[in-house]
């Protein structure tokens, strides 16, 4: 394996994850106020529907697909052992991939053409959208030109990713893969690296805790049961808000 492959498939992932980790913590602590989904639906909602909805549901399914193949490759291989099931999986994944592409193109178009949305666009928005476009394009091309990715991802890329996470990097197989796949992998690491500095941080604050929370929320500035107790007129507990 030559130096460039070593860098792209062994060095880059670690650099990317390191930046992701440190960058996210830094971003959250230093500029927590700016961690938001930064929705622009308020300024333009009609076109957004046909962009945001296909994009988000598409990427959710596609991401979960990648995650499943990464976590339980044997399960995916077992599923794929029946050609019909393999076909169903591939076509479904491809359809959601198109969903991502259509949504993403819609988002970029809307961002570049709507004068109001332009006002709330910053450079990183464009950068990350273009990176995602490359990623989606490469992904769809792989699905089309290097078919049965569901199987070979589980057979080759899942072990590669595990080797990265277990600090025993083994990238020979990846280095020998076609260009589109390499591009997809490298771009994925680049996206992870710039992640903390883009609007994508809203993924990390996805409101799953809402499901288990009681609907109403009341916050007391001080412990009301101690207030009337002369022995403890002062509370050292900092309030949780602000």
């Amino acid at each position: 394996m030559d130096a460039s492959n070593l860098f792209l498939f062994v060095g880059l992932p670690y650099i990317a994850f390191a930046i992701f980790l440190v960058g996210t913590i830094y971003r959250y602590r230093a500029t927590g106020f700016k961690v938001s989904s930064l929705s622009s639906q308020f300024l333009e909602g009609r076109a957004l529907f046909w962009a945001s909805v296909p994009f988000h549901f598409g990427i959710l399914v596609v991401f979960l697909g990648h995650l499943t193949a990464f976590l339980i490759p044997s399960g995916i291989l077992a599923w794929n052992s029946n050609p019909v099931r393999l076909l169903v999986l591939q076509v479904t994944a491809f359809a959601f991939g198109i969903s991502v592409l259509v949504g993403l193109v819609g988002l970029i178009y809307r961002r570049l053409t709507n004068p109001r949305v332009k006002m709330v666009t910053n450079n990183m928005d464009i950068v990350i959208e273009l990176m995602l476009l490359v990623q989606t394009g490469a992904g769809l091309y792989i699905g089309y030109a290097h078919r049965w990715g569901a199987s070979w991802f589980a057979a080759d890329l899942s072990p590669y990713l595990w080797s990265i996470f277990l600090f025993r990097p083994e990238a020979t197989a990846v280095a020998a893969m076609p260009f589109a796949i390499k591009l997809h992998i490298v771009n994925a690491f680049l996206i992870i690296a710039v992640f903390p500095f883009t609007r994508l941080v809203h993924i990390l604050v996805a409101p799953f805790h809402y499901i288990s929370r009681p609907y109403q929320r009341v916050i007391w500035n001080w412990d009301r049961n101690l207030v009337r107790n002369p022995a403890s007129a002062w509370t050292e507990t900092r309030p949780r808000n602000n």
């Binding site: 500029t31 805790h209 809402y210 309030p239 602000n242």
Partner: protein
């Protein structure tokens, strides 16, 4: 019994002159920043009218508030755990900027800096979002004083239950009437915004019940905008955070009335503490429509009741707060006198801003008189030479309530979830006090009649005097009874009272830019 204290408000609509001073006071303090130019935490609407944002009362469009299920439970109409998370990528009921208005300013500089030319230089309107010239299509009070009636007043959602004839009657030129409806956040007991926030950024302060949005936790999921049926949670498009009326809590904590109330020219606003039983919130919010008003009023507890006082003390409510509750002008209007009503109780958020309904447009009527009618009239009735009559009194004491220029049905749709009897009761009280005072000061009403009308509405003479005092003569300290904030108890309040112009009003200051 879980007794809590709630800062509540009463707006006396009879006194509102629609000057928008309150809106300007609020705007100057809190919403003159980028991204919130369009937000009017306090706004004044003309009724009938579609308001701001347009048609906010129509929950078929905006899906705000709670709805009651068959089994007697309630759920958020357009948000909540399932709907909120399912719609998180695109909120299908979110009002957009056009539903409020695109904020604008004028290119004033052009007036003095335009080069010599054939035309008079003009100051074109410029969008405060894009900076480009725009055609102004809408403003925060676009339908003020019934302007654009065919488009706005005639589409008032409260007229849904009125027959075509009744609607027509409301807009006959001679009978035409309107009143003003100033609105701020209701700081509800069962707030839809709090319940809908996926991030848990919105909360109710335990001590005084003020509903706030923690700006550092808000992630722009936009559900509060939908869930608030009063559309009093607004999205700041610049910072990507929602903001809402904070009831000027930094002022309240320092003992000042909120800016809108302080500046009110008509002195229509009252603010005070009420004690209520938090255990009953869920049950109260779920009663059938017809019982809503009474159920909400019955949640509010008598601050003079020794049992209530004891329970309040046990729950950590300070003596000073209990004292403020006893002196509360809002308690008097809402409970003691039973004159004030919540706005749209059918949204089931249990709003704590109450309105004394307007009497004048309801009572006064203009009728064409014939001689026979005129002969029967009280001499105080004012007549015009062309035989048109602007009448504020008739033989039949309560007759005008039924024939009011504003159908009772319309008023009931706004304040009592359709209960016309409850609505008439409030209006009769207002009329009774007016007749009583007429006897006292002008003397052309006879005493027996004055006393009878008071008895009819279950008010004593002393109460009538109190109502008169608080309505007409009340001083600053009578209108605003603000309990001490007990800052010594709370670190938060000790640390963050220094809100300044330009800050978001939530105790911290950070450049509100989007993203990195």
């Amino acid at each position: 019994m879980d007794i809590r204290a709630q800062i509540s408000m009463v707006f006396h609509l009879d006194k509102c002159i629609g000057c928008h001073t309150c809106s300007i006071a609020c705007k100057n303090i809190w919403t003159d920043r980028k991204g919130v130019e369009y937000q009017w935490w306090n706004n004044v609407e003309t009724k009938p009218g579609t308001g701001y944002p347009s048609k906010w009362e129509n929950q078929d469009i905006y899906k705000g508030g709670w709805e009651r299920n068959q089994d007697g439970t309630i759920q958020l109409r357009g948000a909540g755990k399932g709907k909120g998370l399912g719609n998180i990528f695109h909120n299908p009921y979110l009002p957009t900027i056009e539903d409020y208005y695109e904020p604008f300013t004028y290119n004033y500089l052009n007036l003095i800096e335009a080069p010599p030319g054939d035309d008079q230089p003009t100051a074109r309107p410029v969008s405060m979002i894009t900076g480009e010239p725009i055609d102004v299509k809408m403003g925060p009070n676009w339908d003020d004083d019934l302007s654009g009636t065919p488009d706005y007043a005639r589409n008032d959602p409260n007229m849904a239950g009125l027959s075509p004839a009744e609607r027509q009657a409301m807009f006959e030129l001679e009978r035409l009437a309107f009143f003003y409806l100033p609105r701020i956040c209701n700081h509800c007991l069962n707030p839809g915004c709090v319940a809908s926030c996926p991030s848990g950024a919105i909360y109710k302060r335990g001590e005084d019940g003020i509903v706030l949005i923690n700006q550092k936790v808000c992630r722009a999921w936009r559900m509060c905008v939908t869930a608030c049926p009063y559309k009093k949670s607004y999205y700041n498009w610049h910072t990507g955070k929602s903001e809402k009326c904070i009831l000027c809590y930094p002022r309240l904590e320092a003992g000042y009335a909120p800016a809108c109330m302080h500046s009110c020219v008509g002195r229509i606003r009252y603010l005070g503490v009420m004690l209520y039983d938090a255990d009953q919130i869920e049950k109260t919010a779920a009663v059938p429509d017809s019982e809503l008003v009474n159920a909400q009023l019955s949640m509010i507890l008598d601050p003079f009741d020794p049992e209530v006082i004891q329970a309040a003390k046990a729950n950590g409510i300070a003596d000073s707060t209990i004292k403020a509750a006893q002196n509360s002008p809002t308690y008097k209007f809402v409970k003691t006198w039973g004159m004030a009503l919540p706005l749209h109780p059918e949204f089931r958020t249990l709003p704590m801003l109450f309105y004394v309904p307007p009497l004048l447009p309801v009572m006064a009527s203009v009728t064409e008189t014939d001689g026979a009618q005129k002969a029967k009239l009280n001499p105080i009735a004012k007549t015009w030479t062309d035989n048109w009559l602007y009448d504020t009194s008739t033989e039949e004491l309560w007759g005008t309530v039924e024939q009011a220029r504003f159908p009772l049905k319309y008023m009931a749709a706004m304040f009592t979830a359709g209960d016309e009897k409850a609505m008439a009761e409030r209006i009769k009280k207002l009329m009774a006090i007016r007749i009583y005072r007429r006897w006292k000061t002008v003397g052309d009403v006879d005493e027996a009649k004055a006393r009878k009308v008071l008895a009819d509405v279950n008010l004593t003479e002393l109460q009538a005097e109190d109502v008169y005092y608080l309505t007409s003569l009340a001083k600053f300290n009578d209108r605003f009874v603000i309990p001490p904030a007990h800052r010594e108890q709370a670190h938060e309040m000790l640390e963050f009272v220094g809100d300044r112009r330009g800050s978001t009003g939530f105790g911290f200051r950070e450049t509100p830019a989007r993203g990195m």
